[in-house]
Symmetry: C2
C-alpha cells in the first residue's frame, strides 16, 4: 500500500469508521502522522507474508479514555520511548510493529513510530476494529501473552507490568492510566512472526484507506452510504453491512469513567422527538437497540455516521442534535469464533445477551 | 545485635511502638519471622559502618492499608521474588537489605528476607518510625531516587515503576496497590553504602528490641510507662517523651481509603464521656489535639498504648472503649531538619500547621 500526505485524510476517515466510535481522535492522529511523514520521508509497510517466522513484533497503542486525548496531547516521543524500553526489557531489537487495533488515533500511532524509527509496520492488526480493553484482541484470544506491557506518559514516567493473566494486566494498566491522567502510551504483546501470520487480521491498513476513499467518492454520488456498503461487501472481512437507523441524537449521557469513555446515545427519527433507538458505548459502540430490541451487538461493528456525508463520528465527538445514520458491519471471522466471542463477545462487556450476527436477525 | 525466636515478641512490641500506629500487624510479622528463623537458622545483621561505600543496598516493605493485611496474608515468597526482580532490573546482585521503616510488620519483612536469602540486613532504617507514603523516608528527603520500584503480589504479578519524581512513583504505585487488593510487596531505593551511611537512621533494630524489653520489664514495675520513658531518654534518637493523655476511646472513625487506613480516634478522660482529645491518622498517627489545641504533630511520634501494659496499639487495632495512654516521642534529628520536614512535616499530609517539637510546646 502507498500511504502519503495526500491520502491521509481518507486513511483517517476509514480508520475512524472501523474504530466504531473508539480508537481515538482522527484529527490529532492525522496531524501526528503528517508531521512524521514530512520529517522522516519514509514509511515501510510490509505484508504479513513478508514477516519471518522468528521475527519479533510488538504492538503500540494509546490506552485510555478518548475524551482525555482531546485535551492531553502526546508530546510525540512516547511511542518510541516505549518501544526502546520494550527492547531493553526483552534484550533484543524489535523487528516489526504490528497495530493492535484500528481507530482514528490508534491506526496512526504505529505508522508514526514506523516513520520515526525506520522499523517496518505490518499491514494487519489484532481486531479489524477497535476495542476498549487490552486483552480484547485476537492475539490474546488465541493465546499470546501481553507481558511485558510497557507504559509511558508525556512526562517520561515508565511502568512495566508482567502477569501470567492478560486481564490482570489490563486492570493494573488501567489503574496506572487513570493515575497518569486518563491516557498513556503502551507497548505490549511481543509475538513471533509465525503467530501473527495465523491470528492477526490481515490487510486492514489497505482496507482502511479504501474505506476512506469510498466515503470520499460517495459524497459526490446521490447516496454516499451505498458506495461505502458496496465497497465493504467486496472485502474479505466486512461482507455484510446494513443501515439500522436514520435520525438524530436527542439524548446523550457520556462519562469519563474508570479510564474509559462510557455512555448511551439515544436517537429519534427526524420528524419525532421521542427516542426509539439507542447505542451503548464503552469507548467503542457496543450494542444498538431499537425500542429495546437488539439489532447489533459486539463484536459486530456499530458505526455512527453523519447522515449527509457518511463521515464516521467517534463517541467523544457525539453531540445533541447531530443527524446521523447508524450502520452495522459484520466482524472479521477471527472475532466471531468461540475464542473470539469469549474475549470480546457481549459477556466480556457485562452484557447478558448472546451474540448473534446482525445479518441473521430479522 | 542478637535477634532470636526467644526475643521476637519484644522485638515486635518495640517495632509496633516506633510504628506510631502504622507499619502493619506485629503478630503476622512475628509469625513470619519466627518461621523464617526456624527454617533457615541464619540472620546476618550488620552495622552501617560495616557496609562498603560502593555496596548496593535496597529497601523492601509491604505497601498498602494495614487493615487489608489482616485479611490478605502474604504467601511468604513475595519479598524474595521482588528482590530477585530488582536484581534482574539492575543487572547485579544486591549486597545488603536496608529497612525502609520501623513497624510491627515492616520491621519483620527485611529480616525474613535476610533469613531466606542469606543477604545481610543493616541495623538502621529510613525513618526511625513508620510513614504512610513511599517518598516519606530520609532516603528521598536527602536526594535518593526510589526508582526502579518493583512491586509484586501473592499471585506473582509484577509491576516496575521508573520515574524521576519519587512522589509520582508513590502515586503510580498506590494505584497499583489498590488494584492488587490493598496491599503489595515492594522493593525500591537502590542506594550505595556511602549514601546510607550519611542518611539512614542508625541502630534502630537494636533500639526496637530494647524498647520491647523495656515495655516487658516495666510491666512488673508499678508504672510500666516510667521504665519505657527512662529507656527512651537514653537513646540517641528519642530523647524526649511525654504522656499527653490518659483515658479511653469514645469515638472511632476509620476507613480503608485510597490505599490507606485513615481516620480519627476521639478520647475522653476515664470518668467522663465527653471527648476532649483526638488523634488523626493516615496509617500512622499524625497529630494529637487536646480540645482543638495541637500537642504533637508529625514527624514527632504519637503512640497509643494500652494503659495497663504499655503495649502499643496499631491504628487498625484501635477499638471503642479501649483504655489507653497517648505518648509523644521526639523524632530523630534527620526528620526534624528542613529537608526532613519538607518530606514528612505536617504540610506533606495536607495539615495546615507548622511543625513545632512537642517538647517546646507549653
Amino acid at each position: 500500500m502507498k500511504l502519503n500526505v495526500q491520502n491521509l485524510k481518507d486513511f483517517a476517515s476509514g480508520a475512524t469508521f472501523l474504530g466504531t466510535g473508539g480508537g481515538g481522535d482522527p484529527y490529532i492522529g492525522r496531524l501526528m502522522l503528517e508531521q512524521a511523514l514530512l520529517r522522516n520521508g519514509r514509511l515501510n509497510i510490509i505484508e504479513l507474508d513478508d514477516v519471518a517466522d522468528d521475527a519479533l513484533a510488538v504492538s503500540v497503542a494509546m490506552m485510555g479514555a478518548p475524551t482525555v486525548l482531546l485535551e492531553k496531547f502526546p508530546n510525540g516521543s512516547e511511542a518510541e520511548n516505549c518501544l526502546r524500553a520494550m527492547e531493553m526489557e526483552l534484550g533484543r531489537p524489535i523487528d516489526a510493529i504490528i497495530p493492535a487495533e484500528i481507530g482514528g488515533f490508534n491506526s496512526a500511532i504505529p505508522l508514526v513510530l514506523a516513520a520515526q524509527t525506520g522499523i517496518p509496520v505490518i499491514n494487519a492488526d489484532g481486531m479489524g476494529r477497535a476495542f476498549p480493553e487490552l486483552q480484547m484482541v485476537t492475539y490474546s484470544a488465541y493465546g499470546a501473552s501481553i507481558s511485558p506491557c510497557v507504559m509511558t506518559n508525556e512526562r517520561g514516567d515508565f511502568v512495566t507490568i508482567k502477569s501470567k493473566c492478560n486481564l490482570t494486566t489490563e486492570m493494573l494498566a488501567r489503574s496506572v492510566v487513570m493515575q497518569m491522567g486518563g491516557s498513556a502510551q503502551i507497548c505490549c504483546y511481543p509475538m513471533e512472526g509465525r503467530f501473527i501470520k495465523k491470528y492477526a487480521v490481515p490487510r486492514t491498513l489497505d482496507i482502511v484507506l479504501d474505506i476512506g476513499r469510498a466515503i470520499t467518492a460517495g459524497r459526490s454520488k446521490e447516496d454516499p452510504f451505498a458506495e461505502l456498503m458496496s465497497y465493504l461487501s467486496g472485502t474479505e472481512h466486512y461482507q455484510y453491512s446494513k443501515l439500522l437507523f436514520d435520525g438524530k441524537i436527542v439524548d446523550l449521557a457520556r462519562q469519563t469513567n474508570g479510564g474509559f469513555t462510557t455512555g448511551t446515545a439515544k436517537l429519534a427519527e427526524l420528524n419525532s422527538s421521542k427516542a426509539s433507538f439507542e447505542v451503548v458505548f464503552q469507548n467503542e459502540n457496543l450494542v444498538a437497540r431499537s425500542n429495546g430490541r437488539t439489532l447489533a451487538i459486539v463484536p459486530d461493528l456499530i458505526c455512527i455516521l453523519d447522515r449527509e456525508t457518511a463521515e464516521p463520528i467517534t463517541t467523544e465527538a457525539l453531540a445533541y442534535g447531530q443527524r446521523v445514520k447508524v450502520m452495522a458491519v459484520s466482524a472479521p471471522a477471527l472475532l466471531r469464533s468461540d475464542a473470539g466471542l469469549q474475549a470480546f463477545g457481549p459477556k466480556a462487556f457485562g452484557i447478558d445477551e448472546p451474540f448473534r450476527p446482525f445479518e441473521s436477525r430479522e
